[in-house]
Amino acid sequence: MPDQAALLKTKVPLVSETTHDGGVAVSAAPSPDDGLSASELAAKYGLTVSGARPGLFEYVRQLWGRRHFIIAFSQAKLTAQYSQAKLGQLWQVATPLLNALVYYLIFGLILGANRGMEKSVYIPFLVTGVFVFTFTQSSVMAGVRAISGNLGLVRALHFPRASLPISFALQQLQQLLFSMIVLFIVACAFGSFPSLSWVLIIPVLLLQFLFNMGLALIMARAGSKTPDLAQLMPFVMRTWMYASGVMFSIPIMLKDKPTWIADVLQWNPAAIYMDLMRFALIDGYGSDNLPPHVWAVALGWAVLVAAGGFVYFWKSEERYGRG
């Protein structure tokens, strides 16, 4: 532990601090260290390279040590978002509610995308889809800017940089929890009342959060190198949204196309988490709407992307300050 060594060493020269004032000549007095090169000298006194990347486990440990900062930062961001508005934190719930209304107006009433579904199923189906996808979408968008938009912070203070993307993903999770209030109201209004299957919401949220966190970490590293991604990602995300069946049922919509297309679309992570959430929440949305092995796939995506994203982000840890 270099810290302990440092503490022990501090005692010696403190004396000099208190007695002198004004200029004191620091002459390069001959010492046994004179012939040493910088790296040899560093090694002799146990100095370490500043800003070097810690090992993976050490990194996880540091990150755990910063958990209070990660949580406080995400909550602060969430609060700051609406602090200038007159209605204040009420917007946390009002924003998703208005979102749901707009989508209902366009896809439910005008376009009639509810092919093959009862109205009492379609409305909660649509609202769930919008909220769950928005969770992933905003995690990605926040992830892209997590480092490039906070360079000031990165260049001023020490903390494991992964704190930032994780904190932003956590902020989106809290945002979703507010949206869930709206979702519960909508579900009840259309005849899906709380039942035992609602307990499944918790593992679904957990898995999706892991997946989103991994995505945010990947995007944070990519975005720190190429800030242009912030301009590009909205289009990618919109394409992904329309391909994931946010406002329509994939199997019904793609009935007369080759089955592999529907399979691919249904197994994409966004569709998986949406479908699981709908299955947990909506009475009329049974397990026949889910692809096979859906829980295994949901877990697989979460673990793969979270672990992969974390390692990918960590690999570049020492370079994030450059911008």
């Binding site: 790296s39 910063r66 020490h158």
Partner: protein
């Protein structure tokens, strides 16, 4: 003077920071040509180049020095000479292009501005800033009152529960300094933090910095105020255009520097 000589004889000059041929390069996007139009950006993409549209700014060029425990080192030089960049590189916040910095423990910059949010109350900013600097929740709780009292924010009413955007610039600067100065550091780096607030607060912050210096092993101070350098530092590094122009005792270097700046 006597104590330093004594240290030398005991071979107790323990290095705390070693910079070895350090180079720092900033990369700035979209500043390659003077024209910022879309067509010129497109032509940059079409034309093949080493790194398109990226301009490099070589801020620190081959700086080497060794600092020892117990030293207070001043960094001087004209604006844009690389002083703040060098500090950040020592702190490990900016990656080196070439060369290396070795440090004992974790050097930290005195400053927490970037972590604070104007839309939050002063109260929450104290907590957020403390956590950002790596303090634990208990430490912050224990020091909370001390921080608020030091800042003097509450002297004119209950301002700490108002959002920071409602503060005057002086009040905000005082709170920021108070939060930043609440933590003890191994190697402490101060980047022109002395000149905030009114006269009364300046005196108080100078006293606090002296306290921090006692706790810290080595102190780096960036300042354009030669007097505060003379008061606090025993060694000065003079940077000009990213190069180390002079390194020596305060009086000598400042004399040359004043000659150079024509004072």
């Amino acid at each position: 003077m006597a104590d330093l000589d004594k240290l030398d004889k005991n071979d107790a000059r323990i290095p705390t920071v070693i910079a070895d041929e350090l180079h720092i390069v900033y990369r700035v996007n979209g500043a390659k040509t003077g024209k910022g139009s879309a067509t010129s950006a497109l032509s940059r993409i079409v034309k093949r180049g080493e790194e398109r549209g990226v301009r490099k700014v070589h801020a620190v060029r081959g700086v080497s020095f060794t600092s020892y425990r117990g030293e207070a080192i001043g960094l001087i030089g004209s604006n844009g000479s690389g002083k703040s960049t060098l500090l950040r590189a020592i702190a490990g916040l900016l990656p080196a292009e070439k060369g290396k910095v070795y440090t004992d423990g974790q050097p930290s910059l005195l400053g927490v501005n970037a972590a604070l949010m104007n839309d939050l109350t002063g109260e929450r900013n104290v907590i957020l800033g403390g956590l950002a600097m790596g303090m634990s929740r208990e430490e912050i709780k224990a020091r909370y009152q001390e921080i608020v009292d030091f800042s003097g924010i509450n002297e004119k009413g209950d301002f700490i529960t108002l959002p920071m955007r409602t503060y005057s610039s002086g009040m905000a600067a005082r709170l920021r300094f108070s939060i930043a100065a609440a933590k003890d550091h191994d190697v402490l780096m101060i980047d022109e933090a002395l000149a905030t607030g009114d006269r009364k607060f300046q005196k108080r912050s100078e006293a606090r910095i002296r306290e921090l210096r006692k706790e810290a092993g080595t102190v780096f101070l960036v300042s354009h105020n030669n007097k505060s350098i003379r008061d606090t530092c025993d060694r000065v590094l003079w940077l000009e255009r990213g190069e180390l122009r002079m390194d020596g005792p305060t009086a000598e270097v400042l004399k040359e520097y004043e000659k150079f700046t024509g004072k």
